[in-house]
Structures are given as structure tokens and as C-alpha cells.
């Protein structure tokens, strides 16, 4: 059975010419992304234009990159970001509908597609709302003004008093002109202005409402919603065979027995890149296992000892970036504290392993992928296949939640490399669970060390913090960033690892404590050499840095004989930070010297994500079973401030989900490996949180700030949650555990007999 694919042959030009009437629809090429520099995690910010445009308008300033109005008045919105299950489709549509005075349902949204949408780099870093949401808000507001002016022109009246409403511009006297009529025959070329006539937040009818997510009903009633659900006619199934270990060398392989298996169409051996193509999925799996059985590898140790990983990392050459060196007045120091923290390698571990479709027809490669950046992916695949970039089109289709740079890009490259050898046929490549676990790029291991002095008033006088870690992004572009590029016979070199500069930061994300401290020294020890393959995992360095900072804040509070919440407030000046801390504490019922039940403890954590995104404070109560070290999570209460809350329920879902995911990271997760192989190869060797371990309640309180800029929320609760758990364990047991994960064995050992 087949279904309609997002049409690969329908170019934007065709859409425009068949669509008839257009608004703001010209000088297309610059907005198509071809000529655009990718804004990214990994490159330094673009030089600002003289008059900076808001959000992603900076890089895609033409309004027609963002929206189109058809002859029938239909409104289509374009975003270079992707739906990752964070609800971006719904939130962006809300913003556009609001500014255009349209019903929510009247706006159609096209997400990341190199042939249709603006290039917004990666959907990452909780930036979709601030990048794309801001751009769309301004683009649609400006389009509304253009439509109003067109109507005013037609009627020969002043624009004042005209209103855009329900797809028309309406005059006070009742006259109306539909958007479609207004744009008929118009040829305008409009570059966004740096100011927009935004609607007043008090008048919002859609933004600020918990509009139900558009993608949910389909996902819950078995509509084809995910890339895994695509079945174009004539599709073949592919599977790859990976080496048993990162450094394994292929000695020999006999493919003939595999080639003759039922349904097998092709067997590919290209260096260490092995793959099979078959007519049916289970046949492809069997052929994959047969190919694996036919391969002989020689393995050699190439990984460090897991138990020594932090020593190994610290011993590798590094480059020190001093993020801050504030020298202020130093009062009389009464106490000094020092502590070291660590976080192991952790996985994205999506529930649905990576998948991609690719089709090579008429010299054109089309790839459907759930990766986070279609434009950088296009660059990588073009290089991998030595095709010009305009011969590669990458279209985003949703996959299972990814939480960063998981195997999606690699699967896309795998599919493209296979598909180019089977022209004309759509190839669906699905990774196996074990391939996802063993080959995705992990969230990097991190070592943190912090020293601080307290003065006589119980204030922090000096703060000295260092983090040692690898890069936190090895995303494409570049074919060498993909496994296919690394494994094929003519391998591409792995690009030199890059730092991600502040203010976003990579391993140093959130390294700057938001607290008022006169003397602050912060070092990011960037380690280029990567013992294990790593890349961006939700929050990047923020999770572990906040874990360390906020754990240490509690240690300092103890030393200062202060309540942890009061101690934080004492050092917080930013009123919005104070608000989330106070609100979380209040809703939790935080009491300085609370009498909790036996074995129980409470803990607090706070951060402003990246120091530029959402504020989030989390308070947690839990119970520790001393005999086993087993944790029972009881309550989590969070308060967050994401600026203007476009969709409060969406924010609650993201913050609440982040708390549960972070609890899993914090209590259980560490990638296991020996010196040769990755040992975490499935859910039994990489256990995550189960239902039985769940909190009894998780409450999220959203502070709305109408009219304030959108602040990304998707990664805001991970760090505060990790710290709150560590602090609660300490409150329950009196022992401080500084190495993640805080698993039962560690807790038991720390408690002792």
C-alpha cells in the first residue's frame, strides 16, 4: 500500500506559479537557503547587520521566505525548524494566526525542507521559539500591514482603522476584501523591516492559549505521522551492518550466500560500510543478520577504561577558554569549599531507532529524515555523494523524540549512500535498536571542579569553576560527521571539533552562575580528542554544569548555615529569577527546617537555561531506602518563566517531561563500555526510568510574561532537576554524591553501613 509523499518534484517555483496570486513572493532565490550561511550551534554568530532583524529574519530577511498567500486566500507558513514532539507546529501556527487575525486552523505550516523553507540551521538549543517564533511573529505582522495597505490603496482610504480579520481586511463601514483578492496580480518584493506593528498582548486571542497540539490526534489514531510510517510505492527496505566495535577492521566477507537469500536485491560492501537491500522488511533483517554472520572482523582496544574516563579526559591536551574573570572586592573569607563533580557519557536513546528514506532519481537525491537540521544535512550528503548541493533535497519528517543529535543524520547518510546505488527506488533504512544504542553520538562525559569562599555575612565572595569536556556538537555539515562518511572505503576525515561560543556555549553552557558574586573565574577546558563519539544531547553542558553549580550552592548553604532557598535568593538579583525560585518554593511548601518523614529529603535547583532562555526552578521530595540505596521519587514542583507563554500547556508538557527525563539521566544512566566495545546495546544494558519509579506528582507552574520575548523552554528543566535530586538525597541521608548517575549502588555505598 502506498501513500502520498511530500512531493519531491514540486518546487517552490512551481507552487508559486500554479498558486496564482501571491503576496510577498519574489526575489525567491535568496530565501531558498541556497545562498544562506547556516546559522548553527557550531559557527560563530553572523556579523550583525546595521539594523538587526528579529529572530531568524536576520538570516532569512525576505518575508516570502516565511509566508505565502494563495489566490484562494489560503495562508501557508514556512519554518526552517522541525517538529520534534516539542509542539513547535502548534506554537508557530498560533503566533502567525494571531498576527494575521486568522483562525488557528486557517494556517498551514510547512516545516524544514531545503527546497521550500528558510534555512534556520538546527532545531536545537530550545531556540525554535526565539528564532523562528520571533521571525514568524514579525513576518506575519508585517504581512498584515502590507495587506491592510493594499486594501487601503484599493479603497482609496487611510490604512488606519482597517483590520485584518478571518482572512479579509475589513473597513469600519463593513467593506471587506479577502486576502486572496488583495494579493491577486501583485508582485511585491519585500524585505522585512526591522520594526513591526505587533498586536498588543492584551488583545491576543490565540497566543497564550493552550491550543491542543495539531499533531497529537493523528499520532494517537494511527495516521501516518512518523518517518517510520512512510511507504512510497516501490519502496525497498535497507539495513546496515555495523562493525562490532569502533576500531574493528573487516578481514573478509563472503556475500554470495546473502545475495541469494529470498527477496535480497543488493548487498553493499564499501570499506566498513555494509548494507543490504531487500523487498520486505523482515527479509532485510534476516539478510542483515546473515551478512553480519558472514563478516569476519579483527577487533582491537581503542577505548579508555570506563572506570578511568575522567582521568583520561583530564590528561588529554586541552585548550582553556576563560569564560569570565571578574575581580571584585574580596571581603574577609571565613570558609572555603571545594568539590569535584562528574557526569558520564549518556545517550539520547530515542524510543524509535533512527530511520530515513532516500530516493535517487534523474540525478536528484531526495532524503526524508528526522534529523534536526535539513540544510546542514544536505551539505553533508552532497559531499558524501559528490553531488552539487542543489541536487540534494532534504525534507524533515517527524521521528521519535531525539533530544539532540542522535542517529538521525547518520541514518539519512546511510540511506542516501545506499539509494544512490539503487536509482529510481525509494529506500527505507531503519536502524536496529542495538545500532542506535551502540553508534549514536553520546552526550559527552564531563568533569567539573568548583571552589568558593564565603565571607562573614555568609555570602559567596569568590567562585572558581572549571569544566573539562569534549565538544558538544559534532553535527554535520561535512560528510566526515556521518558514520557512512567515516566507514566507507574512501572515508572522509572527521571534521576538527569546534567549540560553541558563549552565550549559548557547548560544554560550558550555563557555566556562568546567575548569582551575584564579586569574584568569578570560569574556565572551559576544551578537549579536542574524543575517546567516544559524542555530540549534542539535550541541554549540552547545561545539565551537568547546573547539576554541579546547584549542588555546590547547597554545600555552600550548609557551610553558611543557611536554608538552600534563602541562600539562593540572597544571591539572586534578577527579579524574574527570584520569581521562579520563590514560586517553586511556595507551591512546594518549602520550609527551611522541614520535618520530613523517615528517609525523606527535599532538594532545590534553579537555572536560567543558557543564561538567555527560560528560567526554571525545581523542588523535589524523595525517599531513600538506606539498605539498598533505592530512591522513591515523591513530588516535583517546578516554576518556569518562558517570557510570553505562547502555549502554556505545551510549556508544562516540556518542563514536566524534562523533569522525568532528567530523573532518568540522574538516577540511572551511564553508557557502559570496555576498552574495545560499547556494552550499552539495548534497554537492559542501558536501563532508563520505568513507570514504577515515577514521581507521585509533578506540578509545573508557568509564569506568563505577556509581550516579553519568547524564551526557549525545551531544555530548561534538566539541570535544575538533576541538582534538586542530588540535594534531596543529601537532605535525606546526609551524604553528598557528586558523581552521576546517583544510582542505588552509589547511594548505598555513600551511606555506608
Amino acid at each position: 500500500m502506498s501513500q502520498k509523499l511530500p512531493d519531491a518534484n514540486l518546487t517552490r517555483r512551481a507552487l508559486l506559479t500554479t498558486g496564482g496570486a501571491l503576496v510577498v513572493s519574489f526575489s525567491l532565490l535568496p530565501s531558498l537557503g541556497l545562498a544562506q550561511a547556516p546559522p548553527a550551534d557550531t559557527v560563530s554568530p553572523q556579523p550583525s547587520p546595521p539594523q538587526p532583524l528579529p529572530g531568524s529574519l536576520k538570516t532569512s530577511p525576505m518575508l516570502d521566505a516565511w509566508l505565502r498567500i494563495g489566490a484562494d486566500g489560503s495562508v501557508t507558513l514556512f519554518t526552517g525548524k522541525s517538529e520534534l514532539g516539542q509542539g513547535i507546529r502548534t506554537a508557530l501556527t498560533q503566533i502567525a494566526a494571531e498576527q494575521l487575525g486568522l483562525a488557528f486552523a486557517a494556517v498551514k505550516l510547512i516545516t524544514s525542507d531545503t527546497q521550500q523553507t528558510p534555512n534556520e540551521g538546527y532545531t536545537s538549543g530550545s531556540q525554535s521559539m526565539s528564532d523562528s517564533g520571533t521571525a514568524i511573529m514579525h513576518a506575519t505582522a508585517q504581512a498584515r500591514e502590507i495587506l491592510i495597505n493594499l486594501a487601503a490603496e484599493k479603497w482609496g482610504t487611510a490604512a488606519d482603522g482597517l483590520q485584518a480579520k478571518d482572512g479579509s481586511v475589513a473597513a469600519p463601514d463593513g467593506r471587506k476584501l479577502g486576502f486572496g483578492e488583495l494579493v491577486a496580480g501583485q508582485t511585491l518584493s519585500v524585505r522585512a523591516g526591522s520594526t513591526s506593528k505587533l498586536k498588543m498582548p492584551q488583545t491576543f486571542a490565540i497566543v497564550g492559549k493552550s491550543v491542543p497540539r495539531v499533531d497529537i490526534p493523528g499520532k494517537l489514531t494511527a495516521a501516518p505521522s512518523f518517518i517510520q510510517d512512510m511507504r512510497p510505492a516501490g519502496m525497498l527496505h535497507a539495513r546496515v551492518v555495523r562493525p562490532p566495535s569502533p576500531a574493528a577492521k573487516l578481514l573478509r566477507i563472503a556475500t554470495s550466500a546473502v545475495e541469494t537469500l529470498p527477496g535480497v536485491k543488493k548487498v553493499i560492501v564499501d570499506g566498513r560500510f555494509l548494507a543490504v537491500v531487500a523487498d520486505r522488511e523482515f527479509r532485510a533483517i534476516k539478510a542483515m543478520e546473515a551478512l553480519a554472520a558472514a563478516a569476519e572482523w579483527s577487533e582491537s582496544p581503542s577505548l579508555p577504561k570506563q572506570s578511568e574516563i575522567f582521568d583520561v579526559l583530564k590528561s588529554l591536551p586541552n585548550k582553556v577558554y576563560t569564560i569570565r574573570d571578574d575581580k571584585g572586592p574580596a571581603g574577609a573569607v571565613t570558609k572555603s569549599l571545594e568539590a569535584a563533580y562528574s557526569r558520564p557519557y549518556q545517550m539520547h536513546a530515542s524510543i524509535g531507532p533512527s530511520c530515513a528514506l532516500a530516493q535517487f532519481s534523474d540525478g536528484q537525491m531526495t532524503v526524508w529524515s528526522h534529523a534536526q537540521g535539513m540544510f546542514p544535512l544536505r551539505q553533508a550528503i552532497a559531499e558524501l555523494l559528490t553531488l552539487p548541493e542543489d541536487k540534494v533535497r532534504c525534507i524533515h519528517v517527524e521521528g521519535s523524540g531525539c533530544y539532540g543529535h542522535n542517529g538521525a543524520d547518520d541514518a539519512a547518510a546511510d540511506a542516501a549512500l545506499i539509494a544512490i546505488g539503487v536509482p529510481g527506488v525509494p529506500i527505507r533504512l531503519q536502524w536496529m535498536r542495538e545500532q542506535e544504542h551502540a553508534w549514536e553520538p553520546y552526550g559527552p562525559a564531563m568533569a567539573m571542579r568548583v571552589k568558593a569562599d564565603l565571607d562573614g555575612d555568609g555570602r559567596i565572595a569568590t567562585w572558581d569553576y572549571s569544566v573539562w569536556t569534549n565538544t558538544h556538537s559534532t553535527r554535520p555539515g561535512g560528510a566526515g560527521s556521518t558514520l557512512a562518511g567515516q566507514l566507507k572505503a574512501q572515508a572522509f576525515a572527521i571534521p576538527a571539533p569546534q567549540i560553541i561560543p558563549q552565550p549559548a556555549g557547548g560544554g560550558d553552557r550555563n557555566i556562568i552562575p546567575l548569582y551575584k558574586i564579586p569574584n568569578v573565574h570560569l574556565d572551559h577546558n576544551f578537549i579536542p580528542e574524543m575517546p567516544l563519539r559524542v555530540s549534542a544531547l539535550r541541554g549540552l553542558g547545561a545539565y551537568a554544569n547546573v547539576f554541579a553549580i546547584e549542588s555546590f550552592m547547597d554545600e555552600l548553604a550548609v557551610a553558611a548555615n543557611a536554608d538552600p532557598v534563602a541562600f539562593r535568593l540572597k544571591h539572586l538579583e534578577d527579579p524574574r529569577a527570584r520569581d521562579v525560585v520563590s514560586l517553586a518554593a511556595e507551591k512546594f511548601g518549602w520550609q527551611a527546617a522541614a520535618k520530613l518523614g523517615p528517609g525523606r529529603g527535599h532538594g532545590f535547583g534553579f537555572a536560567k537555561y543558557k543564561n538567555i532562555a527560560a528560567y526554571c526552578a525545581v523542588a523535589i521530595e524523595l525517599e531513600v531506602e538506606r539498605e539498598t540505596g533505592h530512591i522513591r521519587l515523591l513530588r516535583a514542583v517546578a516554576a518556569s518563566d518562558s517570557g510570553q507563554a505562547v502555549n502554556p500547556d505545551g510549556i508544562r508538557n516540556q518542563i514536566g517531561g524534562g523533569i522525568v527525563q532528567s530523573a532518568s539521566w540522574t538516577l540511572h544512566e551511564a553508557v557502559a563500555f570496555d576498552t574495545t566495545r560499547i556494552l550499552s546495546r539495548d534497554w537492559s544494558s542501558y536501563p532508563i526510568l520505568h513507570f514504577a519509579e515515577l514521581f507521585e506528582t509533578v506540578d509545573v507552574h508557568v509564569i506568563d510574561r505577556p509581550g516579553m520575548p519568547f524564551l526557549g523552554t525545551g531544555e530548561a528543566s534538566q539541570g535544575p532537576t538533576g541538582a534538586a535530586i542530588a540535594n534531596a538525597i543529601c537532605s535525606a541521608t546526609g551524604v553528598r554524591i557528586r558523581d552521576l548517575p546517583l544510582n542505588a549502588a552509589r547511594i548505598k555505598q555513600a551511606i555506608g553501613v
Binding site: 533483517i285 534476516k286 545500532q435 539498605e627 549502588a745 553501613v753
Partner: protein, 426 residues
């Protein structure tokens, strides 16, 4: 008449004498000493030994508080409930003095003077040194007291008459202390001391007679426990590849070994306990158990070599005449592999699996039915259960295919019935 009277009188006298002989006095309750009065080293030592003895297993209810009792231990005589051994004075052992604890461990008599059922393996604990038992007492008496009323063990008459246990002890309870064997090295002797004593391996792996006592003449020849077969550890082990010290050590610490299989049923919990024990003691246990297993006879070695070699060529292709073959190919091969398929994350090769090679179907059926799972957050062997997937006939077909193809052995006869029994329990 007179004779009858005399006989009765005699019986009464004997009975009275028995009671006098069997009677144990209650011991004075003593408040638990404060934790601070103990040496931490002693507590740590006790903690280690408690882990080796895996006390927690029988003394913890499912999802219950550790050591607070409430686990049902099924025996051929009925259910024996593991009691609360936390130092709660009312419901636990909070009033046990060191001497009372020592008596319980070595005589099988509780503080009140009642004889304990030998489901509590005092016949092994007695081998432990007084010093070690004292450390275990120190550890137990310093746990957090948990108030949890014990489930009363109620066996059918006459087994509910605990006084009779004195007779049982007279017949089967060897109080002999452990004596090192100078003919062996320190590791072996340490292993022997632990295995025969606190670790009480024989409690499951030695067959029991009709009185529920271990048949010492058949030590480690395999037993039945909680509906599972505890395989023989001696030369009659079903393992295809003879166990070695290193393999046993791996198995005991990780719960699996590639050449033998994964720990399932009650053994799974034993391996959790041992995972936290100092390596040297686990290695010592492995040394002694490897010695019990003995060196491989040439015949065994040949079988082993064949099994290893056949590991990649065992499977018959899917064929209609062997309905279990399709079940295997679709349900099992994705982890266990077959002749032509190397899975991405292989589980044990069934040609080597002790469960598949065992004389009876118990463990095979149990594992296929319920799978193998670990507690939340803990890594380790995993296998999904097929209880709701396979019918009794289908599992019989599967067993037949696996048994013939991988073990080269004839069908078991009771698979379908055993499957039905498992389903009924569930």
C-alpha cells in the same frame, strides 16, 4: 492390660523425656545496642557476609522493605514465611542478644526457644565462625527497625508441632564446624568455608530426602527450589561447556555467562547480592564450586567442543514439518541467532544453554513463560516472557525444535503441561 498400661507409661515417659530433651529455654530479651557502639569495620564485615548469605532474599517481601520479612518460601511441606529480621523489638529481632542470634543461626532455635524450620539453612550457618556470625548480628541489629508483623507459617499437622524438629535435627543436622583442608590453597578453603556455610549453595543445589533434609551423599547433584530446578554443580552438571573458575566468577557477579546462560528464578537474586561482594570472596566461591564441578572428562570435553562448534550450524531452516522452527526464527533467533544469522546483540547460544540441555523442562518452560527481568534501574540479563504469546502446543513445538536442534537431545515429555501449570500460577 497391665502391659498396655506399662506401654502407655513408657510412651509418656519417652514423650516427656523427648520434650525435656527437645525443649529450649527462652532467652532474655536485650535492647539493641546503639550503632555507635559497634566498630564500623565489623559492620562492614557483617554486611559483606549478609550479602554472601543473601539473607535479604528470603527475608524481604516483593516490593517490601529489606529484611522486614514477608516472603513466601514454598517448600514441599507448605509455605514457610521469611520473618522480619530488622531490629524492631516487637516484630523483628530487636531483642536478640548476640547469644540469642548465635543460637538461632547455629541451632535453629529462636529467642523464645522455638525450633525453626530448616527452610532457614542453619545446617549451613553452623559452619560459620562465631566471629562471622557476630558480625552478621552486629550488622542486622544496627539496621533501621521496620515494624512489620510476621506472616505466620502454618504447616499441616504434625509438621506444625515444632517440637518434632528436634528429632529432625537429631537425624539430619550435622553441627560440625568447618575445618579447612590443608590439601588445598587458601582461596579454595575460603570458598569452601563460604559455600558450605553462609552462602548455603547446597540448600538449593543438593537434592533433599522425603524429610526435607539435604542428601549429603548426593551433594550438589541438583535440587528443586521454588518451582525451579537448581542444576547440578557436580560432574552431572548439564552445562555443555564445563564450568571454570573464571566463568563461575563472571556468572556470579554479572548473572550471565556467554557459554552457559543467564541466571533466572531465585538464582537471579543471588547474583544481585553477590554483585556487591568483594571480588576475592566471589573468586573464592568460584574456585571451590569449580572444584565441585571437577575437571572435564574426555567425554564431556568432546560434547563441549561439539556444542561450541555447532553453535553456528545448529539451526534447521524454517520447515513446515517442524512447526517450532518458524516460532524459533520469528521469536527467538533475533537474539539467540541461528545457523545463518548473527544478531546485533546476541543472547546465549542455545546449543550451550544449560536450561536447554537439562534433563527436565522446568527451567526452559519457566524462562520462556515468564522471561528474565531485573529490578528497575539495574542492568543485566533480560528476556521477554512469552506467556500470552504461545499456546501449550506451540511451546511444545518450540521446545522440541530447540531441544533437538541445539542440544541434540530428545523431546521432554511434560512441556505443554508445565506451561499450563505456569499459566495457572499467573
Amino acid at each position: 492390660m497391665r502391659l498396655t498400661v506399662r506401654l502407655i507409661a513408657l510412651l509418656v515417659i519417652i514423650a516427656a523425656a523427648y520434650v525435656v530433651w527437645a525443649w529450649r529455654s527462652p532467652m532474655q530479651g536485650v535492647a539493641a545496642p546503639a550503632k555507635s557502639t559497634f566498630d564500623v569495620a565489623q559492620l562492614r564485615h557483617g554486611s559483606e557476609l549478609a550479602a554472601i548469605g543473601n539473607c535479604v532474599q528470603c527475608h524481604t517481601a516483593p516490593q517490601g522493605k529489606p529484611y522486614a520479612g514477608g516472603r513466601a518460601v514454598p517448600t514441599p511441606f507448605g509455605i514457610v514465611w521469611g520473618p522480619n529480621i530488622t531490629p524492631d523489638p516487637d516484630t523483628g529481632i530487636g531483642l536478640y542478644s548476640k547469644q540469642a542470634f548465635l543460637r538461632a543461626m547455629r541451632d535453629g532455635v529462636d529467642r523464645q526457644g522455638r525450633h525453626l524450620y530448616p527452610a532457614f539453612p542453619y545446617d549451613h550457618m553452623v559452619k560459620a565462625s562465631a566471629n562471622d556470625i557476630e558480625a552478621v548480628w552486629a550488622f542486622m541489629i544496627t539496621r533501621e527497625p521496620v515494624r512489620q508483623i510476621n506472616q505466620t507459617t502454618r504447616l499441616a499437622f504434625p509438621l506444625d508441632q515444632r517440637i518434632l524438629l528436634a528429632g529432625w535435627k537429631a537425624m539430619f543436622f550435622n553441627r560440625q564446624a568447618f575445618t579447612p583442608d590443608p590439601g588445598h590453597d587458601a582461596a579454595w578453603n575460603r570458598g569452601a568455608y563460604l559455600v558450605e556455610g553462609l552462602a548455603h549453595c547446597g540448600a538449593c543445589h543438593t537434592p533433599r530426602n522425603i524429610f526435607g533434609a539435604e542428601t549429603k551423599s548426593a551433594a550438589y547433584a541438583g535440587g528443586q527450589v521454588e518451582g525451579w530446578t537448581a542444576p547440578a554443580l557436580n560432574s552431572s552438571s548439564p552445562a555443555a561447556v564445563p564450568w571454570t573458575t573464571a566463568r563461575i566468577e563472571t556468572y556470579l557477579r554479572l548473572g550471565r555467562d556467554d557459554l552457559h546462560g543467564a541466571a533466572a528464578g531465585p538464582m537471579n537474586e543471588v547474583t544481585h547480592a553477590l554483585a556487591g561482594v568483594v571480588a576475592a570472596d566471589v573468586a573464592a566461591i568460584a574456585t571451590y564450586v569449580a572444584d565441585i564441578a571437577g575437571n572435564a572428562t574426555p567425554e564431556r570435553a568432546a560434547v563441549a567442543a561439539k556444542a561450541v562448534a555447532s553453535s553456528r550450524s545448529g539451526a534447521a531452516p524454517v520447515s513446515a514439518s517442524d512447526p517450532g522452527s518458524a516460532v524459533y526464527a520469528g521469536a527467538c533467533a533475533q537474539c539467540h541467532g541461528d545457523a545463518a544469522r548473527a544478531p546485533t546483540n546476541p543472547a546465549v547460544n542455545l546449543a550451550l544453554s544449560s536450561a536447554v540441555r537439562a534433563a527436565d523442562e522446568t527451567n526452559f518452560v519457566n524462562v520462556v513463560h515468564g522471561g528474565i527481568r531485573q529490578p528497575d534501574g539495574l542492568g543485566g540479563p533480560y528476556m521477554p516472557g512469552f506467556a500470552d504469546i504461545l499456546t501449550p502446543a506451540q511451546v511444545r513445538d518450540l521446545a522440541s525444535h530447540v531441544r533437538n536442534t541445539y542440544a541434540g537431545k530428545p523431546d521432554w515429555t511434560g512441556v505443554a503441561d508445565a506451561w499450563r501449570r505456569q499459566s495457572a500460577i499467573k
